[in-house]
């Protein structure tokens, strides 16, 4: 990070007031890593690497590994994006970087 500039140009924040930026970014990255681990788990681990082992369990006619590969992973992906979107909304508000119009309504 190169925050030791003399005079920050217009869009840059005043030096020294950047702690919140790193904090915000770190929380974003942490959320991302958690969600991407689940993404990898349901598709690559359950749907591919362990599919044969999971297929020995059969629920409602579906071998479990096949169910993850053809149904479960897709449902999980949808939930992951929803969780990301809602958590980021909260994070944006917490740090006051949400996009709002003059009246303070969300854009």
């Amino acid at each position: 990070m190169t925050d030791a500039r003399g005079s920050a140009p217009d869009p840059g924040p005043p030096p020294g007031a950047n702690g919140w930026r790193q904090e915000y970014w770190k929380k974003n990255l942490r959320l991302m890593v958690v969600l991407l681990s689940i993404w990898f788990l349901v598709s690559f681990v359950c749907g591919i690497l362990l599919i044969e082992q999971l297929n020995t369990i059969v629920i409602a006619g579906f071998p479990l590994g096949l169910w993850f590969a053809q149904q479960g992973s897709i449902y999980t992906f949808i939930i992951l994006i929803l969780v990301y979107t809602l958590r980021m909304d909260r994070l944006d508000d917490e740090y006051g970087v949400a996009e709002r119009d003059e009246e303070g309504n969300r854009l």
Binding site: M1, T2, R5, P9, P11, G12, P13, W20, R21, Y24, W25, N28, M32, L35, L36, W39, S43, F44, G47, I48, L49, I51, E52, N55, I59, A60, G61, F62, P63, G65, L66, W67, A69, Q70, Q71, S73, I74, Y75, F77, I78, L80, I81, L82, Y84, T85, M88, D89, D92, D93, Y95, G96, V97, A98, E99, R100, G104, R106, L107
Partner: protein, 557 residues
């Protein structure tokens, strides 16, 4: 004219009239409207447009058929083509929307440098052209089967309609027609699927009920000389399934025509929500597809099992006329089935007809058959329009106005954008009528290319400030060279002969490895050369926060 043709004409005519009405109402007068729809598209509408943009003739027409014949290993398409949206939503869409300009190469130009932008523009054009040819072809097949038009005539009609609304309305016209096309497509996909699920299992939710028939399907598949349906890694080795899934995921996240759809939302938050809606809309079709594949395959096998050639059901003859279904000359009764013409099975069924023929195979009424035809056309046309916009914007915005003519007025830019769009449509018509013999390989190439060129440098451009122009250019060229070399080595293209797959890795799966090569080269070269300018690093920093920080007092809920 048969009853099916009349209904097809009704649905196709109605849907085309809708697209044209929308196009007229959303015509644009400025480049911001033409390229990014004025950045005023609501998140749900953009989600539907992304879904239509993304789900091509391949998703609608071919995918369920592919899964029906690949069985368990067909999952690579289901996971690969949906999992990419998680990457898009978390790693790219919000940040690229925050940056807020018109094209993918333009971002690359701002973040890295002008010459990297040229490489990116050319890659975007190649990727999009290989794709658009397949869409045109898909549209032509629908027309030729259901309306007895020639494939050439069908391609020309579909392209003519796309030309009208894309040139008139640019991204804005394309967006709102895509919303309509998604609606047509999903209704056309779900109605037959629900009906078949109800007919075969007594419960109309195919996602839940197709488990019940898997046992029967396994037994019958073996009887017909095929692999068990639920057996994993029957069609591809495990390593290959892993790599193909990964390649399709990162290829999806790197495709320019999908990425630019996220530029059209009102805000960063809108981009995040559109990714969510997009996957909801896509998931609706993608969770239905494996059920359609399983139901139709069982239906198909039951309807021909041990039947004498002379008394086969009517759909066999209807489709035999297109050359996509054939019965072996030596067969008297049907005992074996395949999708491979070289297999010598009694009945050969092409993957591509399974969805289109599903209503006929299941004996559903004629209006549903007509609706499915309109859905197939909607899928092909919506994707083609999105691709044509990428080609037009790369040619005009990234190449012409950067390299040839740097000063131009707003109206000149708009005119050149429209001319480029028109020219792209003409080339696409030509490509659809005279497809290169290796279309299927070329589509694999498009994904490999998107995965091994765009994705790594876009992600690093956002998450790693130290990545610089020399690094990105070397990474893109290395990833591309690696991927292309392996593809040419394993495929019969450009007059080369095909070699065996190394470690069982198919050409579809090599893009993931190419992406890793790209990333490693970018990191090493960036580290060895000087960091990007402070101005660029500040731009990257700016991408990370949706808006400037507000004073505590004005933050109202």
């Amino acid at each position: 004219m048969s009853e099916i043709q009349i209904w097809t004409l009704v649905f196709v005519g109605l849907s085309f009239a809708t697209y044209l009405t929308i196009a007229w109402r959303s015509r644009v007068k400025e480049t911001k409207g033409f390229y990014v729809a004025g950045q005023g598209i609501p998140a749900v509408a953009n989600g539907a447009a992304v879904a239509a943009d993304w789900m091509s003739a391949a998703s609608f027409i071919s995918m369920a058929g592919l899964i029906a014949f690949l069985g368990s290993d067909g999952s690579v398409y289901l996971m690969g083509w949906t999992g990419g949206y998680v990457l898009l939503a978390l790693l790219l869409a919000p940040y690229l929307r925050k940056w807020g300009k018109f094209t993918v190469p333009e971002f690359v130009g701002d973040r890295y440098s002008e010459y990297v932008r040229l490489i990116a523009a050319i890659a975007a054009i190649i990727v999009s052209f290989t794709y658009v040819v397949g869409q045109m072809r898909g549209g032509g097949i629908v027309f030729s089967r259901f309306l007895n038009l020639s494939i050439e005539g069908g391609v020309a009609v579909a392209a003519g309609i796309i030309f009208l609304y894309a040139v008139l309305g640019g991204m804005k016209g394309i967006t709102w027609t895509q919303v309509a096309q998604y609606t047509v497509m999903i209704v056309a996909y779900l109605i037959p699927a629900w009906t078949i699920a109800q007919k075969m299992t007594g419960f109309p939710v195919p996602q839940v009920t197709f488990g019940q028939i898997l046992g029967e399907l396994d037994a019958l598949s073996q009887q017909f000389g095929l692999e068990q349906y639920t057996e994993a890694f029957a069609a591809r080795p495990q390593l290959d399934v892993f790599l193909v899934t990964m390649s399709l995921m990162i290829g999806t996240a790197g495709l320019p025509h999908v990425i630019i759809r996220f530029y059209t939302t009102k805000s960063v938050r809108g981009a995040r929500f559109s990714a969510f809606w997009a996957l909801v809309f896509i998931g609706l079709l993608y969770t239905t597809a494996p059920a359609v594949g399983a139901f139709t395959k069982l239906n198909l096998m039951q309807s021909v099992d041990g039947v004498a050639v002379a008394s086969l059901p009517a759909w066999v003859n209807n489709w035999a006329a297109t050359g996509l279904v054939s019965v072996s000359d030596t067969a008297e009764t049907i005992t074996t089935l395949s999708n491979d013409p070289a297999s010598g099975a009694d009945l050969i069924v092409n993957n591509d007809i399974l969805v289109l023929a599903t209503p006929e195979i299941a004996g559903l009424p004629a209006p549903i058959v007509g609706l499915v035809a309109a859905g197939g056309l909607a899928a092909a046309m919506s994707t083609a329009a999105g691709l044509l916009l990428v080609i037009s914007s790369s040619v005009s915005h990234d190449l012409y106005f950067r390299v040839v003519k740097r000063e131009a007025s707003e109206s000149q830019r708009l005119l050149v954008g429209r001319i480029a769009m028109g020219a792209a449509v003409l080339v696409a018509i030509y490509g659809g009528i005279n497809p290169p013999a290796y279309v299927a390989q070329v589509v694999a190439f498009a994904f490999g290319l998107a995965a091994s060129t765009f994705f790594p440098i876009l992600v690093m451009g956002i998450f790693w400030k130290r990545a610089n122009a020399v690094g990105a250019a070397s990474g893109m060229i290395a990833g591309l060279a690696f991927t292309a070399t392996y593809m040419i080595y394993t495929l019969e293209v450009f007059g080369t002969s095909a070699h065996d797959h190394i470690l069982g890795i198919s050409p579809e799966g090599i893009g993931a490895v190419g992406a890793v090569v790209n990333a490693i080269v970018t990191i090493i070269v960036s580290k060895l050369t000087s960091p990007p300018t402070e101005h660029v690093q500040e731009m990257v920093e700016g991408l990370r926060y949706p808006a400037a920080k507000r004073k505590e007092t004005s933050a109202t809920e």
